[in-house]
């Protein structure tokens, strides 16, 4: 509580200076109601709702409207939709194996949501839904719980062989098992923090550079830096979606084939 009030006073002080540097790099992540400004409850329509809805609309636009022509020779949008389909399908097939293809729609859902949320977040004034831990943790937990339950349903207690490294010497196996279990349990954390952290950091850095643009002397450098960071963020937006998806495939492979 004390820290919060101190922060508030600090911010006030920063604004009070007037004309000085004003950094609010984290303000872009504030969740606020779309209509009016009451408190945010569970079902309140917020900027989260708006940008997730836009992501859903983009997915529908690409995957449904884009393929409505059903052309043997695809148009532009249909090519992209087919490319996305083929990209994720091949990833699932290559990483998780043939029996992983059954779970392709779930992985496709994750990939498309993340990739569109990431790219929409790059629009100026946009709200990046995937920069929030609340969002990525739900995504990562869904994957974690999903593959863990799937592993136990498919293999029963033999799923625990995943932690028992049978190729290691007998003495080392218990130690390795502990390490394996810890690394397994840490998966949802790394899985979610990687995505949210990357996006949050990139967007915050852009905002910091934007703050420097207020100083005439450094503003050209600042604008150049923003441009460069933006280019990097475009890359990050795709790469993080890709990493999230391919890790999901890897986890799925562990659930389907737990034997080392």
């Amino acid at each position: 509580m004390a820290e919060n009030t101190a922060g508030a006073h600090g911010a006030e002080a920063a604004q009070g200076e007037g004309g000085g540097l004003v950094f609010h790099p984290m303000d872009q992540f504030i969740v606020k109601p779309l209509f009016g400004d009451g408190a945010v409850h569970m079902f309140t329509v917020t900027n989260v709702t708006l940008w997730m809805a836009l992501a859903v609309l983009c997915v529908i636009g690409l995957m449904v409207l884009g393929t409505s022509g059903r052309g043997i020779v695809p148009g532009r949008l249909q090519s992209v939709a087919e490319l996305a389909y083929g990209f994720v399908y091949k990833m699932v097939e290559d990483v998780s194996g043939k029996d992983g293809v059954k779970y392709f729609p779930y992985i496709m859902t994750l990939f498309l949501f993340i990739v569109f949320a990431n790219f929409l977040g790059l629009l100026p004034m946009a709200f990046t839904t995937t920069s929030h831990f609340a969002v990525t943790v739900v995504l990562a937990l869904a994957v974690f719980l999903g593959v863990t339950i799937l592993g136990f349903v498919k293999h029963g207690t033999r799923f625990l062989e995943l932690f028992w490294v049978s190729s290691a010497p007998m003495v080392l196996r218990p130690v390795l098992a502990i390490i394996e279990v810890i690394s397994y349990l840490i998966r949802p954390v790394s899985h979610s923090v990687r995505l949210a952290g990357n996006l949050m950091a990139g967007h915050a850095v852009i905002k910091v550079f934007a703050g420097f643009a207020a100083i005439a002397a450094v503003s050209p450098v600042s604008v150049l830096a923003i441009t460069a960071m933006y280019g990097l963020e475009v890359l990050v937006a795709f790469i993080q979606a890709y990493i999230f998806t391919i890790l999901t495939c890897v986890y799925l492979k562990d659930a389907l084939h737990p034997h080392h």
Partner: protein, 184 residues
């Protein structure tokens, strides 16, 4: 904390001036809102994908694969047909050439036969004409000889008569014949 939030600040994580306090990502007030809308969005995407998009794209890809495969097969077939046609054409050409050679040979033989026939006929005609001519000459010669004999006999009889020797006709003729025999 709750006492500090005024009506205008919607959350404990937002300061009175509207800027964030700390990391908005760690603000507990918004978590369930985000989770709710996220789940809704994911379910929406999942249903759109499984009901419409993915089966459609799979169908498109399968159709394309099928079209490509059938097109390749058709191309293969057409190529085979073309090769067959070429073979047939070449065979027809060779046949025609052989036929033409045969016809030319036959015509040549026919012409030669006709020429031979005409020549033979001409030869025969010539031979016949020659024979006839010879025969006529023979006849003329024979008649001439006969005339000569008659004239000789008459002359001889006249001479004998003029000389005043009486001699019968038969004896004179025999003597003339003998002389002519001797001349020949």
């Amino acid at each position: 904390m709750a006492t500090e939030t005024t009506a205008s600040t919607a959350s404990a994580c937002v300061g009175p001036n509207g800027s964030a306090i700390g990391m908005p990502q760690l603000c507990g007030d918004w978590v369930w809102n985000q989770v709710f809308w996220l789940v809704l969005a994911l379910v929406a995407i999942y249903f759109v994908l499984t009901r419409v998009a993915l089966p459609r794209i799979a169908a498109i890809l399968a159709e394309r694969q099928g079209t490509i495969t059938s097109d390749l097969a058709k191309a293969e077939e057409l190529k085979a047909q073309a090769e067959e046609a070429e073979k047939a054409y070449e065979k027809a050409l060779a046949d025609a050439r052989v036929e033409a050679g045969k016809i030319a040979e036959q015509t040549r033989a026919e012409i030669r036969a006709q020429v031979d026939e005409a020549q033979a006929k001409a030869d025969a005609d010539i031979a016949a004409k020659t024979a006839e001519s010879e025969k006529q000459i023979q006849e003329i010669r024979a008649s001439a000889l006969a005339n000569v004999e008659a004239v000789a006999k008459d002359t001889a009889e006249a001479l004998v008569a003029a000389l005043g020797v009486s001699a019968d006709k038969v004896t004179v003729d025999a003597a003339v014949d003998k002389r002519i025999e001797g001349q020949r």
